[in-house]
């Protein structure tokens, strides 16, 4: 690789080192071509990297579940593309960007370890006897077996004899002949969330596991444990083989009934039973559940408990609390004849007992079910369903003394474990109670009511509105009315009026955001807002979308909000009722809810949250600042931005400095009073142009032609009439900032520069005090098409600048651009549409660069803002119309536009 790089570098050096020597044109043309190709690859990697960041951001902000393989694959893509960007830039510049590799390396060292979760228990013994296990063994024996062993030790409760095949054995199995990698690969290659595909994948994975070989050392360890166990029991040994997952105690991860238990297994078939339980990890339900709970595949390590089979006379399940009302002071016992599996399966009626928690555990209620069948062990292997005789069917499977004994055990276990438990038990032929397993009981949260947003009945809200208007109406005056519910709900908090995006820095948690327009830039603090109020804005705006996603109530079309509401004043925003009330109206707030991300609190979500600060934030904003340097890149996004800027500069400088008559900068022949210069990077001219000037008809660049049409379509009517204040403002700025004074600027800055190729165009222009760049790639390759528009500066004061920039942002957003605002800099991106649509948007961008340039001078009065908004919109409508084919589905793969993913 180095050799190839060296070749390219040498090729470029050869060109730039010999400006006018005897190099023939053909050679120079090739050098340009090669250079442009390198630049194209950089742009391509740039585009892919930004899309990947966008995708990660929308997944983080959205409410769809994602897996660890998503994070890993996106990080791999991102690193590869950023590395390629650096390589290409380094090559283009002849090796002047080595420092970027260090910055890149630092970020990689930070992020990579976060992607590799530590694998617990890999060094443990392969098999552990149940008597050697306590709760500290959860990582090696799984939660279920660890608590069983622990309780047996601590509480003098009988459990079956047995052993656990540990996580170490599991890992050996998964690593043996790369089973784990094979599984990962199948999962990652699997596309689509369709249920039939999931079942297909589930079945493939389970077959993989069943067909895999268990490593000889694991088989040997299991056989030794079986021999040992055989000596402890009378008669032939039969086993219950149960899953015992590590991390089953993760928040909300109850795993009830998702994994397998095999009953009455003969030792000769234990290895297959082990594989079957492990394969149960890839059951469709279990996989769906993990996915939605944000559990990484490797978070679920399957330990397998092998316990002596208890041939139960009767058995069942104890809940130490009523799961629907944990305050109720009752222990619930469900019992059947035979194995307790019948209770779990729910195939037959059961005996139901409600027993007092307090000794002597009196039975308060008793319902004896008509039990028709029972599970019993077969003599050889497996279990069967036996019909029950009439008299047994109606007889209680346990008596009151046994119920009391079970209740006593339940209370002991609950006290020891510190929470309600779901306990499976059996009574053997000697009448002894044996504990089979126990796990935390899933109970309904205390405030379960009204916790479902969609199900919350309208009538309830109506009642609340009435209450506010009625009894509390006098206390909580209605301050303002809105027109549009942009996101449903009610929120209260102190007001924070945001006049510009920079004000978001001062935004505190729980405040009510009040803005003039629903600009996308405000979305960055939205998740911390109690509610959003906007004077103008539509339900379909990005801000409204994000508000709905975060479930932040948003009320738009509130006339006078900016002037009538003051910072710090507490208000209640009733987005549903279209009103803003003074103070905090509890009647309205009741039943309000904020759902966290479905993945919140899960390891996968946490991993993403930990890596994103090293990936997404863009801190390098100003290419002229001294901090615009590799050492100040704190995220991959910073590196991408830096490289892109430098690459464009490299291409520009190369074309400008190279005395190649065919390609050096040429002036465009035009009849507007401005200078337009053109650098041809490769195939931007239709014929060879030898003179110092080029005519429009010789330009073969598709994006430049479109942009030019926009620039010239509507004749420019000279600077807009300036109000007195506006002019003073410009003069004041000009005295402070010499860079703005005409004549002081460098000669290049005064010109408008196009760099073009057939499918590429970048325009750097300075009109008066405004600096803008447009960059676009447009070809038949739809997924590679993009337009980036950046706009900065202006001579007027901040307020006017902001108004102008917000107006541009609004118009671009309506055209489908993803827009972000930082102080007075605007960045907008539009991508992945076919050529006709791209060209249409380029025309609009061309129009905007010409016609908005000095608007900030007239931006002091609302009436003027409105006047220009209307004029621009009608110009766009009349002159450019709708694009030829507005694709119904928009960009194919990418979902929502990112609020930060700009170049």
């Amino acid at each position: 690789m180095l050799r190839i790089l060296r070749n390219i570098i040498d090729a470029f050096k050869g060109v730039s080192g010999l400006p006018e020597a005897a190099q023939d044109d053909e050679e120079l043309r090739r050098a340009f071509k090669l250079r442009y190709m390198q630049f194209r690859r950089l742009l391509n990697a740039n585009d892919k990297a930004l899309k990947t960041i966008s995708e990660m951001e929308s997944v983080q902000a959205g409410n769809k579940p994602f897996g660890m393989s998503f994070i890993r694959s996106r990080c791999a893509l991102l690193f590869v593309n950023v590395y390629q960007i650096i390589q290409h830039l380094d090559t283009l510049s002849g090796g002047r960007h080595q420092a970027l590799y260090d910055t890149f390396g630092r970020l990689q060292e930070t992020i990579s370890p976060l992607l590799e979760s530590a694998v617990p228990g890999e060094d443990a013994e392969l098999v552990l006897d149940l008597t050697a296990i306590d709760r500290r063994h959860a990582e090696v024996a799984g939660v279920k077996m660890a608590s069983l062993g622990d309780i047996a030790r601590q509480l003098d409760i009988a459990v079956p004899a047995g052993f656990v095949i540990t996580s170490a054995a599991y890992h050996r199995f998964m690593q043996h002949r790369r089973l784990q990698e094979e599984i990962h690969q199948r999962i990652q290659s699997h596309d689509g969330e369709a249920l039939d595909r999931l079942y297909e994948l589930s079945s493939v994975l389970q077959q993989l596991v069943m067909a895999a070989e268990v490593p000889p050392e694991v088989v040997a360890a299991i056989e030794a444990a079986v021999d040992k166990l055989r000596k402890q029991v009378d008669g032939p040994l039969a086993l219950a083989v149960r899953s015992s997952g590590v991390n089953e105690d993760l928040p909300g991860a109850s795993f009830a009934g998702q994994y397998r238990s095999l009953l009455n297994v003969r030792p000769g078939h234990l290895i297959d039973a082990f594989k079957e339980v492990v394969a149960g990890k890839f059951g469709a339900t279990a996989m769906t559940y993990r996915f939605h709970r944000g559990l990484r595949d490797e978070d679920i390590v399957m330990c397998v408990g092998c316990l002596q089979m208890v041939d139960a006379v009767c058995g069942g399940v104890v809940y130490t609390r009523n799961p629907l009302d944990i305050r109720e002071d009752t222990i619930i016992i469900n019992a059947v004849w035979g194995l307790p599996k019948m209770v779990v399966d729910g195939r037959s009626a059961v005996d139901h007992f409600e027993v007092a928690r307090q000794a002597p555990h009196r039975v308060r209620e008793r319902r004896i079910g008509a039990k028709t069948v029972a599970y019993r062990c077969l003599a050889e292997e497996g279990i069967c369903r036996n019909e029950l005789l009439e008299d047994q069917s109606h007889a209680p499977s346990i008596d009151d003394d046994q119920a009391a004994a079970l209740a006593r055990m339940a209370v002991d276990i609950e006290n020891y474990c510190g929470g309600p438990q779901d306990i499976e038990w059996a009574i053997d032929s000697d009448g002894h109670i044996v504990l089979l397993q126990c796990r935390p009981l899933s109970v309904a949260p205390a405030e379960a009511q009204a916790s479902d947003a969609d199900a919350a009945p309208v009538s309830e809200a109506e009642v609340a509105h009435d209450a506010a208007a009625g009894e509390e109406g006098a206390v909580h005056a209605v301050l303002l009315h809105g027109q549009v519910t942009a996101a449903r709900g009610v929120g209260a908090g102190p007001v924070r009026v945001l006049k510009r995006e920079a004000d978001t820095m001062r935004f505190a948690d729980g405040e009510v955001m009040v803005v003039q327009q629903s600009l996308p830039g405000y979305a960055v603090v939205l998740h911390r807002a109690a509610a959003v109020v906007a004077e103008h804005g539509s339900v379909s705006s990005h801000l409204a979308n994000v508000a709905r996603e975060y479930q932040v109530p948003a009320l738009f079309g509130v006339e006078g909000a900016m002037s009538r509401l003051a910072d710090g004043q507490t208000v209640t925003v009733d987005a549903d009722g279209l009103k803003i009330h003074d103070g905090k109206v509890d009647a309205l707030l009741r039943g309000r809810l904020r759902a966290p991300h479905v993945m919140a609190g899960t390891p996968v979500f946490d991993t993403l949250a930990q890596i994103m600060p090293h990936i997404a934030p863009l801190t390098l904003l100003d290419p002229d600042a001294p901090t615009f340097a590799p050492a100040h890149c704190t995220s991959l996004h910073d590196i991408i931005r830096y490289c892109h800027e430098k690459a464009v500069q490299e291409m520009f400088a190369f074309g400008r400095d190279n005395a190649f008559p065919m390609r050096s900068s040429k002036q465009l022949v035009v009849d507007v009073p401005m200078q337009w210069w053109i650098l041809n990077l490769d195939d931007g001219f239709s014929d060879e142009v030898t003179g110092p000037k080029v005519r429009l008809e010789n330009i073969a660049s598709i994006p430049m032609q479109a942009l030019w049409q926009g620039i010239t379509k509507v004749p420019w009517q000279g600077p807009p009439p300036i109000d007195g204040k506006g002019f003073m403002s410009v003069m004041f700025q000009a005295t402070r900032n010499t860079a703005l004074v005409p004549g002081v600027r460098s000669s290049y800055a005064q010109r408008n520069y196009f760099m073009i190729a057939k499918n590429y165009c970048s325009l750097m222009s300075r009109f008066g005090f405004h600096f803008s760049t447009v960059e676009s790639y447009v070809s038949e390759r739809v997924p590679e098409n993009y337009i980036i528009f950046r706009f900065k500066g202006g001579a007027a004061d901040d307020f006017r600048k902001m108004r102008r920039i917000q107006l541009i942002a609004e118009i671009l957003e309506e055209q489908g651009f993803a827009v972000s605002l930082t102080e007075d800099a605007l960045r907008a991106r539009f991508e992945d549409f076919p050529m006709e649509v791209m060209c249409h948007r380029l025309q609009i961008v061309g129009y905007l660069t010409m016609h908005t340039r000095q608007l900030d001078m007239v931006m002091s009065r609302n009436a003027m803002v409105e006047h220009y908004r209307q004029r621009i919109k009608s110009d766009i409508e009349e002159r450019f119309g709708r694009p030829p084919e507005q694709p119904a589905a928009g960009p194919q793969q990418r979902s929502s536009p990112s609020i930060q993913g700009q170049a």
């Binding site: 090739r30 090669l34 190709m37 690859r41 791999a76 590869v80 690969q185």
Partner: protein, 129 residues
């Protein structure tokens, strides 16, 4: 410019056959190998402009095959394809001279664009020498 000769190397027979078919429809000449040794043998006998290489294969893995390919004179451009994306392996591939690194399931258009670019790059580099 003529048709580009491309070699697909992947141990998943079904996948590689359907991929080959779709690339042929897009105007590429496609040959197929099911493992690293087979790929290297084909490369000794025929000239290819591009190779699409599965990273994870039994026997010789994709990165090892890549190293071998890049040892030769005038090596073809290599695009790595993987179902098991890992940052370290991805970067290693690029550092060893892979043209690009793509993840399964791969968008067929994206793959064919990358192949075109790779072949054009190779043609330009050859002219330059």
């Amino acid at each position: 410019m003529g048709k580009f000769n491309i070699l697909l190397v992947d141990d998943e027979a079904e996948f590689v056959e359907s991929l080959a078919e779709r690339l042929r429809l897009r105007g590429f000449d496609i040959a197929v190998a099911s493992d690293g040794a087979g790929a290297l043998a084909l490369l000794r006998e025929h000239r290819f402009q591009g190779v699409v290489l599965d990273v994870m294969m039994p026997g010789m893995d994709g990165l090892a095959v890549l190293r071998e390919i890049k040892k030769g004179d005038d090596p073809p451009e290599v695009i790595l394809l993987t179902g098991h994306a890992r940052t370290e392996a991805a970067l290693e591939g690029i550092q060893q001279g892979a043209f690009d690194y793509l993840i399964k399931p791969v968008d067929i258009d994206e793959l064919s664009f990358r192949l075109q670019d790779a072949c054009e790059k190779r043609a330009l580099m050859l002219q330059q020498q």
